[in-house]
């Protein structure tokens, strides 16, 4: 929390402090509604024009035993009056709804940070559940922080004692009491959340009313008791002009796919099977039936991808979405799509593996799975989204490549950007690429495996077209005719054609563009969701006078045509990845260039400071050598 200006505010006897950047973490039991509370704070801050970035962190268990450490659910949001790239490293403010939430999160709170606790939950029974020996509110362990205590449960009950609602229902309003407190502390208006509650509980107005009342009570409690002595304000960020909305990665990806459907004139078909953290893509697309979107919740991951292949054969813009374990099940069918050369987009919203791994935690460890996880020589184009808002553009780009080259295309996203959010400057619809294409209709000289000269794409001839009857299949096909062929020379030729088709995409994507000097001592290279942390760290390093360049890859197969040249221009290339060095492996093999891996496999994203320290280390070590 960096304070810029202090001034005396007139409306309130307490001081008001202006901050340019603050990180707030809401933590409580997974039944306490912390994700909801955080989301409301985020949306209100977005409407105020702050730049922001969010990081939900919830357990895989839907309801772990209440009050226990595994049951803690947290939502971190960073708001700022300037352009930020990450949800922040350590929180400035922690809201802890119970002892377990405090224990699990206090270690990360900045020194002298604000911690707000619901004292009603600080009971011997709950200490036991959270495996706490002594009352942390009394034992001095919080001395280094600014502790604010409130009987949130009691106060909520008192507020709603005339509501006629039962105690259980009343207690479920306490997160809105807490939200009201935080709204007061950060001088945010409550109208947006109030409107949202009325909409959400349109059919149960008594619940809407109770939550609004609890929220206002939380606000008034702070106003009257002067609990905090100080209030904070965060001004709107100076973002480029335009219309903005706050968007999660999965939403943005879904919108990108719908946009691609509209821009191509092809109906969108999604085959999916529920899996964390990809399910929201299914939910979002299922709600867009007015766009002619067909969603199919299949019996399993295999059926989901196979249905998408069937829809593609029929002329739809076909999508399947999953996460690593589900993709493993899909791999045989993805290979079929590659072999029959039908367009499809496969979204892998990565999570921490291997096997079931840590479903709600993030990782970038499926790159090699997507690259190589199929039998035989089976090249597929791979794209990676860099941030929540980038998912929109990546969705469209993946569809463009799939349709133009008649090939299944992989999108890599991950839990961090899928459920994280940031402001998105909305594009002009007319500026979106035109993806219209033609099905083959002319029977004259038709052969299903005859290729376009430049793209090597085969024709898309859909059933129902007279005179183009043909058979597809996973068995090797004769060049041109597509008939079953076991001819050795033909197999070699077809293998190289499939390879070459994907390789040629390199000429059809933007060249790698370095942020900073185009050559020099150190290049920070990244891909996927690390972009925010890398950008933030590089910007900070530069402010400290360090010279460091940055390059972020969105196309991982094929690589941009100039990548080898760019890499050769740097003495050292540092590649932070949330895996043990997967992209580095590919780059070394391809360019014979030494790439230094900075690995992190903790199920959590890189922090800006981790990267910054690494940059400092490298540049300092080098300056000693020289």
């Amino acid at each position: 929390m960096t304070s810029r200006v202090e001034d005396e505010k007139t409306s309130n006897p307490g001081a008001s402090e202006r901050l340019d950047d603050v990180v707030i973490r809401f933590a409580g039991d997974s039944g306490d509604g912390m994700q909801l509370t955080g989301t409301q704070f985020t949306n209100t801050s977005a409407l105020l024009g702050n730049d922001l970035s969010t990081l939900p962190d919830f357990p895989a268990e839907i309801r772990a035993p209440a009050g226990t450490l595994p049951g803690v659910s947290a939502f971190q949001v960073r708001i700022a009056d300037y352009d930020i790239h990450t949800p922040g490293d350590a929180p400035d403010v922690l809201i802890a709804m119970n002892p377990a939430a405090l224990k699990k999160n206090i270690g990360e709170l900045k020194p002298n940070g604000v911690v707000i606790v619901n004292t009603d939950e600080f009971t011997v029974r709950n200490f036991k559940k959270a495996k706490i020996e002594q009352d942390p509110l009394e034992d001095g362990s919080l001395d280094g922080y600014r502790l604010f205590k409130a009987q949130i449960t009691t106060l909520t009950r008192r507020t709603l004692e005339d509501s006629g609602l039962d105690t259980k229902t009343v207690d479920r309003c306490k997160n809105f009491f807490a939200l009201g407190m935080v709204y007061w502390l950060f001088s945010r208006p409550m109208e947006n959340t109030e409107a949202w509650l009325h909409q959400k509980f349109a059919r149960k107005p008594e619940l809407a009313e109770a939550n609004v009342k609890a929220m206002k009570a939380g606000w008034n409690f702070c106003d009257i008791t002067q609990l905090f002595q100080v209030r904070y304000e965060v001004d709107p960020a100076q973002l480029p002009p335009g219309t903005y909305r706050n968007v999660h990665g999965n939403t943005s990806l879904a919108l990108g796919l719908v946009a691609a459907s509209r821009r191509s004139g092809l109906p969108l078909f999604l085959g999916a099977y529920p899996i964390t953290p990809a399910s929201d893509l299914l939910h979002e697309l299922a709600s867009h039936k007015t766009f002619g979107v067909t969603t199919f919740q299949a019996e399993d991951e295999i059926a989901a991808v196979c249905a998408a292949i069937g829809a593609s054969f029929g002329g739809s813009l076909a999508i399947t979405a999953s996460s690593g374990p589900g993709i493993a099940l899909k791999s045989e069918a993805m290979n079929l799509a590659m072999m029959v050369e039908l367009p499809m987009v496969v979204c892998n919203i990565q999570r921490a593996g291997p096997s079931t791994g840590m479903p709600t935690k993030t990782e970038q460890s499926d790159l090699l799975q997507m690259m190589f996880g199929r039998n035989g020589e089976a090249p597929l184009p791979i794209l990676a989204a860099a941030s929540p808002k980038d998912c929109f553009a990546i969705g469209i780009e993946a569809c463009r490549i799939a349709l133009k080259y008649m090939v299944p295309v992989v999108i890599l996203s991950d839990g961090y950007i899928a459920s994280g959010s940031e402001p998105w400057r909305l594009p002009e619809i007319e500026s979106l690429p035109d993806l219209r294409m033609d099905f083959r209709t002319d029977p004259e000289n038709f052969a299903p495996y005859q290729r376009e000269e430049d793209t090597l794409a085969r024709p898309w001839a859909i059933p129902g077209t007279p005179g183009l009857e043909h058979r597809l299949g996973g068995i090797e096909k004769a060049e041109g005719s597509g008939n079953v062929s076991y001819d050795p020379a033909n197999h070699a030729k077809m293998t190289w054609l499939r390879e070459e088709k994907v390789a040629r995409i390199a000429n059809d994507i933007p060249p790698a563009e370095v942020d900073g000097e185009a050559s020099g001592k150190l290049l920070i290279l990244g891909w996927g969701s690390t972009e925010g942390a890398l950008t933030g760290a590089v910007n900070l390093a530069r402010r400290q006078g360090l010279t460091v360049s940055r390059l972020h890859l969105r196309h991982l197969n094929p690589f941009p045509a100039n990548l080898g040249e760019v890499l050769a221009g740097f003495e050292r290339v540092l590649l932070p990845e949330m895996n043990t060095g997967q992209l580095a492996l590919l780059l070394r093999a391809r360019y014979l260039k030494d790439i230094e891996t900075f690995a992190k496999v903790e199920g959590r994203p890189f922090s800006r400071n981790e990267i910054l320290e690494k940059i400092q280390q490298i540049l300092e070590a080098d300056s000693h050598v020289n």
């Binding site: 919108l255 039936k289 295999i302 079953v484």
Partner: protein, 338 residues
């Protein structure tokens, strides 16, 4: 449309690919029956799509001069579901075998049936794995000695019709490769059905499981041990129709028709019953104790899955109008920076 369509013939559905099943394989007869029936359906040739999985029977699409898709092992129903959902105008047929549909693809089979997707499933049952050269299949009889079960298989076999009925199938039938008129008539019935049509076709694999259906196809079993189920008619069999099936409690039993009046005691076949219970009981009627019933076991009308999918989209559009991309992207809380 149908008046303008050219008259199609069997040869219009024969592809230029050399058929490569073993000489004497039952698959030839099935191929011939399908090629004979398709031109009679009044459907333009380009609307047909034959989808298959892996196995001998799954080579089927290559020999049909229609759109075709030879997919991967067990997955034909899933591919066909996506195709039919997105293109309800197409006539989608699946060629599959007992291993493809009941073993590796068992999950997709039960789900396509419960959803009632408008596809026709031809399940070639030869009770053996042919393409991998002779291992036992999920419909092989218990105790069967094969390369993979030298001391006899330990698995209880699936009863394909019981399985289909249990999964909620709306059309279930059985026919036999060599009973050409019966097979063609059954294919025609399947083609006319709205939802999923499931036909188990007894198919002789003369290399790895020859004579598997001798108790249906050989004389005198062909007449003496085979029951033709016909809707609305008493269930009788034998050359002189002197034997019949009647209900005893929850099960069916064979009895001899001695007098005219005994005909009254015969079960009168009703393929349209809402409950699948009777069809299920009939699916359990099998040799050696009982004869083999062939024909339509169940045919009930329910809306097809794809029509329901399309209708939800239509409803949404009727209620809210065709979606506008601009509204979608700019829909949620937005703010402007100038």
């Amino acid at each position: 449309m149908s008046t303008e369509a050219p008259v199609l013939k069997k040869k219009d559905f024969q592809s230029d690919q050399e058929v490569r099943w073993c000489p004497g394989c039952g698959d030839y007869a099935i191929l011939s029956a399908v090629q004979a029936v398709f031109p009679t359906l009044g459907i333009p040739k380009e609307k047909f799509v034959v989808v298959s999985g892996i196995g001998c029977s799954s080579r089927f699409p290559y020999y049909m001069n229609t759109y075709g898709f030879h997919t991967i092992h067990g997955r034909a129903p899933a591919v066909a579901t996506g195709l039919k959902m997105s293109r309800p105008d197409l006539e989608v047929w699946i060629a599959t075998g007992d291993g493809d549909s009941m073993s590796i693809g068992g999950n997709h089979l039960i789900h396509v049936l419960r959803r009632n997707v408008g596809v026709k499933i031809l399940m070639f049952n030869n009770r053996i794995y042919g393409l991998t050269k002779g291992q036992y299949s999920p419909t092989s009889e218990k105790g069967k000695r094969t390369k993979s079960t030298p001391m006899g298989s330990l698995d209880n076999p699936f009863n394909p019709l019981s399985l289909a009925l249990g999964a909620g199938a709306t059309f279930v039938a059985r026919s036999v490769d060599v009973f050409q008129p019966h097979l063609k008539a059954t294919l025609q019935r399947a083609a006319a059905h709205q939802g999923t049509a499931f036909i188990e076709i007894y198919q002789n694999c003369n290399i790895f499981n020859d004579h598997a259906f001798a108790n249906v196809t050989d004389k005198p079993a062909r007449t003496e041990q085979t029951v033709h189920l016909e809707h609305g008619k008493p269930v009788m069999f034998g050359k002189e129709k002197r034997r019949g099936l009647r209900l005893k409690g929850m099960e069916l039993e064979v009895f001899d028709l001695v007098t005219e009046a005994d005909e009254e005691k015969c079960l009168v076949w009703d393929e349209n019953q809402n409950s699948p219970a009777l069809a299920f009981a009939m699916s359990r009627v099998l040799p050696p104790e009982m004869p083999t019933p062939i024909g339509v076991f169940r045919a009930v009308e329910r809306p097809s899955y794809e029509s329901a999918v399309v209708s939800q989209i239509d409803q949404a559009i009727e209620a809210k109008g065709v979606g506008k991309l601009e509204d979608l992207i700019y829909s949620r809380d937005t703010w402007t920076v100038s």
